[in-house]
């Protein structure tokens, strides 16, 4: 069947991407040969270096968190 509205698929994909990102946790590097946290090799990507899809995911996550806050606030009140 032809895809007339890609919105549900796109939304679900971005949701899965964010969930997948949360699950990946950095394993602590221990031992003599392990990198220490203070090494200068660690570089954090700035927003401008991220791909458009990653930037979109970041904006999406901000809005989603905000919505969750509102939902939880409403639930507590009722």
């Amino acid at each position: 069947m032809a895809l007339t509205n890609p919105a549900p698929v796109l939304y679900q994909n971005l949701l899965n991407y964010i969930k997948g990102k949360k699950e990946i946790k950095k394993t602590p590097s221990t031992g003599m040969m392990g990198f220490s946290e203070s090494t200068g090799f660690k570089s954090k990507k700035s927003d401008s270096e991220l791909s458009p899809a990653e930037r979109a995911a970041n904006y999406f996550k901000i809005l989603k968190d905000k919505r969750e806050e509102i939902k939880n606030g409403n639930n507590r009140r009722t």
Binding site: P6, P8, F60, I70
Partner: protein, 165 residues
């Protein structure tokens, strides 16, 4: 000497007279917004304005899914030459989330459009029935399940036929 008429490559393609020249359509020109941020700077203030908010909430209350609203918005912007289809695809989930955020703030019940309709449609059943009839299977009645006739195996005769026990 007979000459073979060669096809003219420069001839207009069928329907060419009914089209605009290249660049006349908004989507054939350079897009107004090339990044997600620029596109969102266009959408978010518009969506946040009181007039659009009211209209949007009316649409959501009518039962129109958020997915359809977001898709229509970005599609019309693409047709107006505001941004590319790629940018449109990237901002759809953000627009959806923003619309749902606004609706949640006000407390409007809406359909997010994410639920798949798994129920069988009447038209699908009718289509399946007509195909079965075309295939020559008769005697099918959707209300009666026992009416399906099964053909018994014909008796095979000859030297190589399997013996019946």
């Amino acid at each position: 000497m007979a000459t073979i008429e060669e096809p003219s490559i420069d001839a207009p393609i069928p329907g060419m007279g009914m089209t605009h020249e290249l660049g006349a359509r908004p989507w054939q020109n350079a897009y107004q917004f090339t990044t997600i941020e620029e596109a969102l700077d266009f959408y978010i203030p518009r969506l946040s304005s009181e007039e659009v908010r009211r209209k949007l909430f009316d649409v959501l209350e009518m039962g129109i899914p958020v997915t359809s609203v977001a898709n229509s918005m970005q599609l019309s912007a693409v047709m107006e030459g505001k941004h590319s289809v790629d940018v449109g695809m990237l901002i759809i989930p953000i627009l959806m989330e923003f619309i749902m955020l606004m609706a949640d703030e006000v407390g409007i019940e809406y359909d997010d459009g994410m639920k798949k309709d798994k129920g069988l449609r009447e038209s699908s059943i009718d289509l399946a029935m007509s195909r079965l009839e075309q295939a020559g299977i008769k005697g099918l009645d959707p209300d009666k399940k026992d009416t399906v006739e099964t053909k018994e195996e014909e008796d095979t005769k000859g030297l190589m036929a399997r013996r019946k026990a």
